[in-house]
């Protein structure tokens, strides 16, 4: 037993010392990443964007990724572990804006740069870089309601109850709803951001026979089209996100009118770029950086051209099609698909 442990210890030391190496003239930052949803296309793209961006940033020698399905208490644990690992910066997708403050404050007290991507945190001194979620929902809902001529029944498919991105989107959706009094929400449901669950829910609702004129869905979209096609129901206008599978459907499925609103997971890469800028003394003026969404629809020729330009057959169908954030990320399409970061073992 003792021998086994000594062996394990020796192995462990070897494994940690090996990648440290010599970083040459570059600065050698270690960046920690914390994320609490695993196995979701958007989050996987975010992680890959972080790795790819860390790889092309010359100053990052090591990236430690804590990436698992957990709650806020688990994310606190991960952040505290990253602090123990001696990172220079922490880039996180926060599970909640308020819950992580104790760990984030203790990180900043030790001069660790904190950048939250995708959603905000309230800890004083932390930087926030995110997609504007309220605008995301508003933009898509407004397009849908106009498409229906300002009156009709819509199905409203949300994400996870109680998650702040879902709450922000709900606010945006409700803002559009107020502007179009003729629109009525005939069915509201939470997909849990799960493909299979969302598809089943659409099957179930189609089976009730209740008529409706449009669908607004929070990022679970290509399977919703599948549900229509497989059950033989006539297609109605559908608004989803820029997931590769859905964008492909917008250009291929006969009779489908719809729009994709961009919500790039590559904000993760932008977060790494921002963290390196701050470490190099080039902090932005504002603590909060918002990336505004864009809407791609297939009902005009101009829109169809945009959709055609964005597609890449090598992308995972559940990934957002917008793989880069202009002005922030520097990696290539191949690098984000390869999903390899510096110093990971």
């Amino acid at each position: 037993m003792k021998k086994l442990l000594t062996g394990a210890a020796a192995l462990a030391i070897a494994a940690t010392l090996a990648p440290a190496g010599f970083a040459g003239s570059h600065k050698a930052y270690t960046i920690g990443v914390s994320n609490t949803v695993q196995g979701n296309g958007w989050r996987e793209q975010m992680i890959c964007a972080m790795r790819a961006q860390a790889l092309v940033e010359g100053d990052v020698s090591n990236l430690i990724v804590a990436h698992r399905n957990t709650d806020s208490a688990g994310q606190l644990e991960d952040i505290n572990n990253l602090i123990e690992a001696g990172v220079d910066a922490i880039v996180l997708n926060p599970s909640n804006p308020d819950a992580l403050n104790s760990a984030l404050e203790s990180a900043m007290a030790q001069d660790i740069v904190v950048v939250a991507v995708d959603a905000g945190v309230t800890a004083e001194g932390a930087y926030v870089l995110s997609n504007n979620q309220e605008e995301y929902a508003y933009l898509g809902a407004k397009w849908l309601f106009e498409q229906l001529g300002g009156s009709g029944d819509v199905v409203y498919m949300r994400g996870i109850a109680g998650v702040s991105a879902d709450t922000d989107r709900d606010n945006g959706f409700k803002r559009a709803l107020e502007e179009y009094p003729g629109i009525n929400v005939v069915h509201e449901v939470f997909t849990g951001w799960q493909q299979d669950q969302g598809k089943q829910q659409m099957f179930d609702f189609l089976a009730t026979g209740i008529p409706f004129d449009g669908v607004w869905t929070s990022g679970i979209d290509n399977v919703i089209v599948d549900a229509f096609v497989e059950s033989g129901a006539p297609l109605v206008p559908i608004v989803g996100a820029d997931n590769a599978g859905f964008v492909q459907y917008l250009s291929e499925v006969e009779g489908l009118e719809g729009a994709a609103v961009t919500n790039p997971g590559s904000v993760g890469g932008a977060g790494i770029a921002l963290a390196v800028d701050i470490l190099n003394g080039e902090a932005p003026d504002s603590q909060t950086v918002l990336v505004d969404p864009v809407l791609w629809e297939n009902t005009t020729e101009e829109g169809q051209a945009t959709i055609a330009a964005a597609q890449n057959p090598n992308l995972d169908p559940e990934w957002p099609v917008s793989v880069t954030v202009p002005g922030w990320t520097d990696y290539t399409m191949e690098q984000i698909i390869a999903c390899e970061g510096p110093g990971e073992g």
Binding site: A8, A9, A12, S72, N81, N96, N101
Partner: protein
């Protein structure tokens, strides 16, 4: 001495393993010290209480799949109440709510005679919905003293408050019960329900009490979640499977009647420190869960092998 070692061999082995893992952590990250230990103890808080609750019901011969959901209910209840009223009465209400939820679980199992696993699976969804009814989105607030109570050291640098709370809260509830008639009944029921019944143990009441205890520990877990995050979260965390894992690793036999609470609690720390080590070593996160699972199975297998070999001698 040797009788003591034989009786508590598994727990001693776990303690040695924890010590060894601490040494490994120090070797990997020489700066890992009392502060690292303190944040480890804090991270262990919700897992420790979930595990204590699960251990009690496993000892009585059952299982409770609703632990994480009960923690979510009590966590949001604490955050909602503490926003509106004084901390101490809120604390008492939350603990009582946990106890009542556990008693309901137990009563349903005993009265309906539906298997534990089915009843508590159903209650998992019931309590999950209840948590969302209390608080639809994460929010609320906790008393400042509650957050302060788990941070830092007491009475001297090096002993984390979180560790004292785990030891104190579980000790105060469990030790007197274990030495009482109820404790004996819990072990007797878990070891052989029919024999216990024939020896005059009120099997039904014992089971209900064990589930009540589990609910009480879950309330403590919910309170520690609220204390850690400062808010209440209605979506249950990953505490169900983690608690089963710690209970098994801690030497409690699934099926009941054997084991204590100290082993599972040490197992909680072992599982937490393994995660710390994997983070320090920057292991690919997709590999991390495989490593965690493999280590667990290996330890249980090694332990069982050592125990059977020791018994044969």
């Amino acid at each position: 001495m040797s009788a003591f070692v034989r009786k508590h061999g598994w727990t001693l082995g776990l303690a040695l393993l924890l010590l060894a893992l601490t040494v490994v952590t120090r070797l990997i990250q020489p700066t890992f010290g009392v502060n690292g230990f303190e944040s480890l103890a804090r991270a262990a808080l919700p897992f420790a209480f979930a595990t204590a609750g699960m251990a009690v019901v496993v000892i009585v011969g059952g299982i409770d799949l609703s632990v994480a959901s009960m923690m979510a209910v009590t966590g949001v209840l604490a955050a909602v109440l503490m926003e509106r009223m004084a901390g101490v009465p809120a604390l008492v209400i939350v603990l009582a709510a946990g106890l009542v939820m556990g008693l309901i679980n137990g009563a349903l199992i005993v009265l309906t005679r539906v298997p534990d696993i089915v009843v508590t699976l159903a209650m998992l969804f019931v309590w999950e919905g209840t948590a969302l009814l209390i608080l639809e989105t994460p929010g609320g607030a906790t008393a400042d003293w509650l957050e302060a109570s788990i941070r830092g050291f007491f009475p001297v640098e090096g002993i984390p408050k979180a560790l004292l709370i785990i030891g104190g809260a579980i000790g105060v509830v469990w030790l007197p019960i274990r030495r009482s008639k109820l404790g004996l009944s819990i072990y007797a029921t878990g070891s052989d329900e029919r024999a216990a019944f024939r020896s005059g143990v009120a099997v039904g009441r014992t089971k209900i009490a064990a589930y009540g205890l589990c609910g009480l520990f879950c309330a403590m877990g919910g309170l520690s979640l609220a204390a850690l995050t400062g808010i209440g979260e209605p979506v249950p965390g990953p505490y169900l499977l983690a608690s089963v894992a710690a209970v098994v690793l801690g030497g409690v036999v699934l099926g009941g009647g054997k084991g204590g609470l100290l082993g599972p609690l040490i197992a909680v720390f072992i599982l937490r420190i393994i995660r710390t080590i994997l983070t320090l070593m920057a292991i690919d996160p997709n590999v991390t869960t495989i490593v965690e699972g493999t280590i667990m199975v290996a330890v249980v297998m090694l332990g069982t092998w050592a125990t059977t070999r020791g018994a044969r001698r």
